[in-house]
């Protein structure tokens, strides 16, 4: 409000700031931003996030792919524009709160609250009754009753009329600011987390030790201050065959000394030096694949033992063969082939060919009708545990925000600043009593309260007389 008067004389930059302030002080902007965030958030659930770009190109076509790429739709929750929307909402929340807080502050911390009698008299909802009781005793009754339920009250006497003003819950006007503050706190916490924290994973074979982890977002190695050793990994199953529990026995090793020894489960992680270690997956790492090559031209059979990533030069210049992937179950045209190994066959003058080798169906590769038929007869494997390793220094802030937002919502929604006026007219023989009041929200609740107070006053006065 004050900006309006002063902008005329001030620096243009200040003018710009003032008009920006005015824009962000609008509740309609809040509603618009909330709904825009809701709608745009939905986009990311319709289009799979962070998938393979070749897949995107195949699925959406060239034009749409480029459009999506420009707007960073494939990782939209971390995109520039989405963050900008969140920032705009934050600015909106802060500006609105500051704008309104000053007037709320005046009401809340007013040491001598004014009661405007005419405001009470204008209220449409009043409770009225007449009683034969004495005015003084009536006022006393009122006082004892008001004392119990209201934090502040004042009695004013005028000739034959007593006015009792009371109010409570002034501080509840702060509730909405608590909510807004906690939203800002949450966002700040998440910002701190994304700036100073990390999220990574590591797969450790039983009996082996990991000194570093792989970060999820960049795929880079991240060295740890300590070593994680997996002493044992175990899966227990229900009778139905569904998994019941995953357990990793871990040791944290620092300078060749075991600092912590603990079993971790899903939902029961290990914490050390601000770093959290979670049970997140498991698997078997295969090695020593026994590969058989059969040349179509000569009928000769060659065997080779190798691990994933290793390659082999097949004799008779049949090409170079590399083991690339292993799947515990592999779907081929809706048919489950079970354990499968995939390799790449490269020949000097030809395109590389992917070779699928299911363990259950050793003659599967014959269907390819290539120069060489490749199959896998056996392999060895070892269990590994998949651990999620994170650090998030923003969590305390976020959790504080969580707590405050719940408290704030409760105060905002279910408590109100209630003001009450009991007007007692002494007409000689009888007394006329008018109870009225208003609250800053939940009008129906206030109406009920007024009715309740009036009823019990009436009851008390009739009993006494």
């Amino acid at each position: 409000m004050t900006e309006k008067k002063t902008t005329g004389k001030l620096h243009p930059l200040w003018k710009l700031f003032a008009s920006g302030w005015k824009l962000f002080a609008s509740v309609k902007l809040t509603i618009a931003l909330l709904l825009i965030l809701a709608i745009t958030s939905a986009i990311g659930t319709m289009i799979p996030q962070n998938a393979n770009h070749a897949w995107y190109l195949a699925k959406y076509g060239k034009i749409l792919y480029l459009v999506f790429l420009t707007f960073n739709i494939f990782d939209m929750y971390h995109s520039f524009w989405f963050r900008f929307l969140i920032l705009a909402l934050t600015a909106n929340i802060i500006v609105c709160s500051i704008n309104r807080l000053s007037s709320a502050w005046k009401i809340i911390f007013d040491k001598h609250p004014k009661f405007n009698l005419s405001r009470f008299q204008k209220l449409p909802e009043k409770e009225e009754f007449s009683t034969g009781g004495h005015a003084d005793s009536l006022v006393k009754n009122c006082e004892t009753m008001i004392k119990r339920g209201f934090s502040f009250y004042r009695i004013e006497q005028q000739d034959n009329r007593s006015l009792i003003f009371a109010e409570k819950g002034r501080w509840t006007r702060l509730g909405v600011y608590i909510v807004h503050f906690s939203v800002v706190l949450l966002l700040t916490g998440s910002l701190i987390g994304s700036l100073f924290g990390f999220e990574g994973y590591v797969n450790i074979l039983e009996g082996e030790t990991a000194k570093s982890i792989t970060l999820r977002d960049t795929g880079k190695e991240y060295p740890l201050d300590f070593d994680i050793r997996c002493d044992d990994f175990n899966v227990s199953f229900y009778e139905s065959g569904k998994p019941s529990e995953y357990r990793s026995s871990l040791s944290i090793v620092e300078n060749n000394k075991i600092v912590i020894k603990k079993n971790i489960f899903v939902n029961r992680p290990l914490h050390h030096k601000g770093i959290n270690i979670f049970q997140s997956s498991y698997g078997t790492r295969p090695y020593n694949f026994k590969v058989t090559f059969e040349s179509r031209a000569s009928g000769m059979v060659y065997t080779w033992e190798g691990a994933l990533g290793e390659s082999y030069e097949i004799p008779e210049t049949l090409g170079n063969f590399q083991l690339t992937n292993f799947f515990n179950s592999y779907k081929f045209h809706t048919h489950d082939l079970g354990k499968c190994v995939i390799g790449t066959l490269m020949k000097a003058d030809k395109e590389p060919v992917d070779v699928l080798m299911p363990l259950k169906y050793p003659s599967f590769d014959r269907m390819r009708k290539g120069d060489v038929f490749i199959s896998i007869s056996d392999f060895q494997s070892k269990d590994y545990t998949g651990l999620q390793v994170t650090r998030d220094p923003g969590v305390p802030l976020v959790y504080t925000g969580f707590l405050l937002i719940i408290i704030g919502c409760y105060i905002t929604f279910f408590m109100s600043h209630q003001r009450l006026c009991i007007d007692i007219h002494d007409d000689g023989d009888t007394c006329r009593v008018v109870v009225s009041g208003f609250a800053n929200k939940n009008r129906l609740g206030m109406k009920n309260l007024i009715r309740k107070i009036s009823k019990s006053l009436e009851k008390m006065s009739t009993v006494k007389s």
């Binding site: 509740v27 965030l37 809701a38 659930t45 996030q49 139905s240 019941s244 998030d392 719940i406």
Partner: protein, 411 residues
């Protein structure tokens, strides 16, 4: 007597209560309403009994966990929460009129939970395509009522708090949806928007119906193309607008017929771009159903609604607000507990998972609703419309997320 027997009886009790509320509403009589209240109390008690019995049974079967771990159990709890929330509001506001829109939701939830599961015992003699269809159908209505052991991720103290708070919140939103629907039906200004509401509603219904059919017959989730959705939405908006204008000139029914016809045609076309159909019989069936629906709807608007009494606007608005605030508090707690749980299980409190995003979308819509009142010039009808949109988001968060493309498919 085991828990599923009790719960299927409760379904009928809720159905009876809903019927009584409707009778009391249409004939404007007190007595059926009073009985309805008692029947609802009985239903809710039975519902609670069923849940407790199921809890006991899970211990007897050696699994020992709260009955809140799968779709069936959550639906049963949802029905209970709606009934209890409604009863509290009824006592607080001394008004029975909105029971008409609340109890049917309770009924729907528990009835969906009690859909028969198609097992192999039911279909020993069928084979081939029919068997495939039945298999797919059982996947669609697969609300397994057996008590199942907990998978490792669900073994947490947060499970109960998270599910209970979420569903109490959903229950608040469900009843708020009922009161908002009444507001919209009562409001004069919304009459001119009826056709738009209706066309979008029908379109959504048809898409869901198609998805269901496809799931039953082809056993695949269809992936509607991005462009066809955009084009289709634009066509719907244009046609709705044209129909709205035509309606003023020609009159009601003719336009409803033509408009619905075109809309359905477009839906079909929109889907047919991507998918090849060979069951034209169903196309005709849907056409007929929608024509009838259109006719019925217009009839309803013109001849029935003016004679049915609704609570006052202020009352409806206040109820919607109270319920949304109640729901919002619990949804907030629900999201927070879920978040804290995710942090103890996977080391992140927010991971932009589809379910998380949709709960956030729901939260944002209701947050917008809560700001409508303090914004000058906006009030009742905007609140009501946002409440309806918000509840569709709730439903989508609950049932729809699993149909989205992506890697997550847990319930």
């Amino acid at each position: 007597m085991n828990n599923s027997t009790i719960l299927s009886i409760v379904t009928f009790v809720y159905g009876f209560a809903a019927l009584l509320y409707v009778i009391s509403w249409i004939f404007n009589k007190e007595l059926p309403g009073k009985i309805a209240t008692w029947v609802t109390i009985a239903g809710a008690t039975g519902n609670a009994g069923g849940i407790i019995l199921r809890w006991v049974e899970s211990y007897q079967q050696g699994m020992g966990h709260a009955p809140l771990s799968n779709k069936y159990e959550s639906l049963v709890f949802f029905a209970f929460a709606i009934a209890v929330c409604y009863l509290i509001m009824e006592f607080k506001y001394k008004n029975r009129l909105f029971g008409v829109f609340a109890l049917p939701l309770s009924l729907l939830a528990i009835a969906y939970a009690s859909l028969p599961v198609i097992t192999d015992q039911l279909q020993p003699h069928v084979s081939g395509t029919i068997k495939q269809q039945l298999d797919a159908m059982s996947a669609w209505s697969n609300v397994n009522y057996n008590i199942q052991p907990l998978i490792p991720a669900l073994k947490s103290n947060w499970l109960i708090t998270h599910v209970v708070t979420c569903f109490i919140g959903y229950a608040g939103f469900a009843i708020a949806f009922g009161t908002s629907l009444m507001y919209v039906l009562k409001a004069k200004e919304s009459k001119s928007h009826f056709f738009i509401f209706f066309s979008i509603g029908t379109a959504a219904g048809i898409i869901i119906w198609n998805l269901g059919l496809l799931q039953i017959f082809n056993k695949v989730y269809i992936d509607i193309g991005f462009w066809s959705i955009i084009i289709y939405l634009m066509v719907i908006i244009i046609i709705s607008f044209v129909c709205l204008q035509l309606r003023k000139i020609i009159g009601t029914y003719a336009v409803s017929f033509i408009g619905t016809g075109i809309l359905i045609g477009c839906t079909w076309w929109g889907l047919a771009i991507k998918v090849h159909f060979d069951f034209s019989f169903h196309v005709v069936l849907i056409f007929i159903i929608c024509f009838c629906a259109a006719y019925l709807f217009d009839f309803l608007v013109d001849y029935i609604l003016p004679f049915v009494h609704f609570p006052e606007f202020d009352m409806l608005d206040e109820l919607t607000h109270q319920l949304v605030m109640f729901g919002f508090l619990f949804l907030t707690i629900g999201i927070i507990t879920g978040s804290v749980w995710a942090n103890t299980a996977w080391g992140r409190y927010w991971g932009w998972d589809n379910k998380e995003i949709w709960s956030l979308i729901t939260w944002l819509i209701y947050a917008a609703l809560l700001h409508v009142r303090i914004s000058r010039g906006w009030s009742g009808i905007e609140t009501a419309i946002l409440s309806i949109i918000g509840f569709t988001a709730v439903i989508f968060t609950y049932f729809g997320v699993n149909y989205l493309p992506g890697l997550h498919s847990y319930g």
